[in-house]
Symmetry: C2
Subunit: 167 residues, 2 copies
């Protein structure tokens, strides 16, 4: 536990729909994962609770099961799509790295912290502004929360701003 | 600028008196710096403003120049001692890595963010609880501030708690 061999690390990367998390993954593949290593990269997609569920919780009003099923299906498709994209990036940038993918339900803040612990991650990698502006307003900054609560090292990667000349 | 070659990175490591920052440095040397790389490790010690200066600012009262000089000397000695210890760790863990050391005066939050920008750091490495409990009460969490304000990737490394049986 104390001395993790450099070549057998479990690197947990939180991915979401945003470009920033893909940039974080790419940075990690180029800068943290070493070639010919036995690192395992665990891609984690946290399916955040739909804000509408929360907003309607306790009012006695419920969506029809059709609508709920459609929303659930949409969420699962987004997760699959994000993870496919992430796995492709791993293959493109570090052919040999072992990759696992997981989808977990819940508030991304809790899910990421729990999984880091449960999977015995040696390092957690994430973007700084995941889960979109609106969800962030509900959830607070995911990366802030994780940096404070996760026990393993946390690498927060921001997407560099393009040098657009706009004001 | 966009594509930094993996082997020529500028890794900025914020060090202080605490064990946690030394642990962060050690983790970085083992997990981020690759052998035979051309990485440059920049050790940065931020000399925080003495709380007493601030407390007495504007009251018209001043310490004698002797006391101020002694405090200044003590601060410089601590900085030198921390940097020596850090440099030794670099030599012990990654013989070949290029190491630079810097001391900068000011609030660590500002100093670290400014230097990350100014030195074109590719990644900033730091502990999560630097600068002691009391200073943190004045300054707020340095790592939080830097994670939010520094543009480059930030790696926050916590010192694992020893499994002491105390309650």
């Amino acid at each position: 536990m104390a001395d993790v061999a450099e070549s057998e690390r479990r690197i947990l990367v939180a991915v979401d729909e945003g470009e920033e998390s893909m940039h974080a993954l790419s940075w990690c593949l180029k800068n943290v994962v070493s070639q010919n290593s036995k690192d395992t990269l665990i891609l984690l997609y946290a399916k955040p609770p739909r804000a509408v569920y929360t907003a309607l919780d306790g009012t006695g009003y419920l969506f029809s099961s059709d609508i709920l099923a459609a929303m659930e299906k949409y969420g699962a498709e987004v997760a699959a799509c994000v993870l496919e994209k992430a796995k492709k990036m791993c293959k493109d940038l570090q052919q040999d790295v072992k990759v696992e993918a997981r989808v977990e339900n819940g508030d991304p803040r809790d899910v990421i912290c729990q999984m880091a612990e449960q999977l015995g991650a040696d390092v957690l990698v994430m973007g700084s502004h995941g889960y979109g502006l609106i969800k962030r307003a509900f959830l607070g900054s995911v990366s802030n929360h994780c940096a404070q609560n996760v026990k393993c090292p946390v690498l927060i990667v921001k997407k560099p701003k393009t040098n657009a000349g706009s004001k």
